[in-house]
């Protein structure tokens, strides 16, 4: 079970992030989670939103380099050790994690961790076998 994340290439330039979020806001896109990987010259912005297809379309029509990336969303309890147990399953299965970030559900004690790996099928199988609940697009976008 995989979900769509939006990946955006973004120049490390004053005001650029504000411009991007303005574009999303004008299209009524709601951001669930975001993470930025930055270097001295550029960053890669990763977003989980309520309507990924529409978000990518509106970004591209504004000349922003954006694309959809398949990622894994896993539900966790918001308690010590929950993230560690998920990452240990992947480590034991020898599946490298390219990047990860997490967010809390606005309701209750749920957390959601986003995982980007090279081999999605292997990771999904290993996590399911380890008893981790994976979230569908509907689960995440409506969280």
């Amino acid at each position: 079970m995989l979900i769509d994340q939006i990946s955006v290439f973004i120049a490390n330039k004053h005001g650029r992030l504000a411009e991007l979020t303005d574009i999303l806001s004008s299209a009524q896109i709601d951001i669930r989670a975001l993470s930025i990987a930055d270097t001295a010259d550029f960053g890669v912005l990763r977003l989980i939103v309520n309507d990924p297809a529409k978000a990518v379309e509106v970004l591209k029509s504004n000349n922003v380099t954006a694309k959809l990336t398949k990622v894994i969303a896993a539900r966790l309890d918001d308690c010590p050790g929950a993230l560690a147990s998920v990452l240990n399953i992947l480590a034991k299965a020898d599946i490298p994690v390219e990047y990860t970030y997490a967010f809390l559900s606005p309701r209750g004690a749920d957390a959601c961790v986003i995982l980007r790996v090279d081999d999605n099928d292997a990771a999904v199988a290993a996590l399911a076998a380890g008893g981790v609940k994976l979230l569908s697009e509907t689960d995440v976008y409506r969280l």
């Binding site: 990946s7 290439f9 120049a11 010259d41 000349n63 380099t65 980007r116």
Partner: protein, 431 residues
């Protein structure tokens, strides 16, 4: 102080020497440099039509594209058995401009560089610190040959390791140095940083060239190193350093016109322009055997001056080149064509064919930044992959240009587009 008698002969004598030598060279080239013979045939010019130097303008031009098309040895006018040396410099494409020398050509080179040094007061009692690169670049071995021709003790230091260079300047008692003007300034800075007083060195004269420099920069180098400087000019296609040189006047460079005949032409029409008018500098080699280019377009813009010089030389003078008619950049003394960078970028399908070259000067050293747009459809959202991409581009650029560059990936559609000729160079150096 002159090296040989041709430096001070009358204009009539020079006319006669140039005419004799041109007639001989055109005959040699027509018989042995096939691509140029074809050009002459196409224009309907025969060697017999060239009766004196005044007929030079009847001959077809040679340009850098001729070197690219005939890479590597197609324009050599002697059998390879007679070629004893090869040098090369950047071409507009991935292919270098390859030039060759016979033993006699190397003697000519030694003598024109000997004139250069002699005009700077150098005698065989001097010790020369040659800090141009040794290798395919003509700077190192060209200056080296001239220094040995004069009879100087010649120290082949080549480039890099500035602290070691300073140690050599101190311990070996070098009295003159050959390097780029920016490197001379860098040596001055390093001396200051190390707390070494330049007046404790034996250094008296700097023969500086291979990149553009201003009178302000000259004054600063002379003051900070406590030396006098002489501008030198040359290009590998003609011979390398030694095409023209400064005398004590420091007001233009005497052209070794008994070997390399200068003309100024209109860069657009190729029409010869009268002495004193600014235009594109064109050279004809009239003494070389292996690679005697005729009417070679340098793309340097300057003017000639036939005013008598107080040094006594009658050789015509050229002004310091004031620019280029093409888009060639000189970065840290290395000739760089944007087309070379473009050909490297085209090897990568993750980038778009839009780029910007930003040349700047940090302290005294030139920097080159290449901004290139990412291809919107092909971008990886992994920072690792993106950094690997910019590293791979940087590595290929460095091996193609021979100088390091910073590569910056930028967002698609953000670099300036223009109709017609794209503006792809931002030269921020104030020199």
């Amino acid at each position: 102080m002159y090296w040989d008698k041709n430096e001070t002969i009358s204009r009539d004598e020079m006319h006669q020497i140039q005419s004799q030598r041109l007639i001989k060279t055109v005959d040699h080239v027509y018989r042995n440099m096939i691509p140029y013979r074809k050009k002459m045939d196409a224009m309907g010019v025969l060697p017999g039509d060239i009766k004196s130097i005044d007929d030079l303008c009847k001959l077809p031009f040679t340009d850098k594209e001729d070197l690219a098309q005939n890479y590597p040895y197609g324009l050599f006018a002697v059998p390879m058995d007679d070629v004893v040396r090869i040098h090369a410099s950047s071409g507009t494409t991935g292919r270098q401009k390859v030039v060759g020398y016979t033993r006699e050509d190397l003697e000519v080179w030694g003598n024109v560089m000997a004139r250069t040094f002699t005009a700077g007061g150098v005698t065989k009692s001097d010790i020369g610190h040659i800090s141009y690169g040794y290798g395919l670049f003509t700077g190192g071995l060209g200056a080296h040959g001239g220094s040995e021709t004069v009879g100087c003790t010649t120290v082949p230091v080549s480039v890099g390791n500035t602290k070691r260079q300073i140690q050599i300047l101190q311990d070996f008692g070098c009295t003159f140095i050959c390097c780029t003007p920016s490197y001379a300034l860098y040596i001055a800075e390093t001396l200051e940083a190390e707390g070494i007083d330049p007046s404790t060195l034996s250094l008296r004269t700097g023969f500086l060239g291979a990149e553009p420099w201003t009178e302000n920069m000259r004054r600063e180098i002379e003051k900070r190193l406590g030396i006098t400087t002489r501008d030198i000019y040359g290009l590998s296609e003609i011979i390398g350093p030694g095409v023209s040189f400064e005398c004590s006047e420091q007001s233009g460079l005497h052209v070794n016109e008994d070997h390399f005949v200068p003309e100024i032409v209109n860069p657009d029409t190729g029409e010869p322009l009268p002495v004193g008018t600014a235009g594109e500098l064109v050279f004809t080699c009239i003494t070389k055997k292996a690679f005697p280019l005729i009417r070679y377009r340098t793309h340097d813009v300057c003017r000639l001056s036939a005013e008598p010089c107080s040094c006594g030389r009658t050789l015509i003078k050229m002004s310091k080149p004031a620019g280029r008619t093409d888009d060639m950049l000189i970065i840290r003394g290395v000739n760089v064509f944007p087309s070379q960078i473009e050909s490297v970028l085209l090897e990568f399908d993750q980038t778009a064919p839009y780029y910007m070259l930003i040349v700047d000067r940090q302290g005294v050293l030139d920097t080159l930044e290449i901004q290139v747009e990412l291809a919107s459809e092909k971008f990886s959202d992994s920072v690792k992959d993106l950094e690997a991409l910019s590293r791979d581009i940087r590595r290929n650029i460095e091996s193609t240009l021979g100088i390091a560059a910073k590569v910056t990936l930028v967002e698609p559609h953000t670099l300036p587009r223009s109709e017609g000729k794209a503006k792809r160079i931002l030269d921020k150096r104030s020199i």
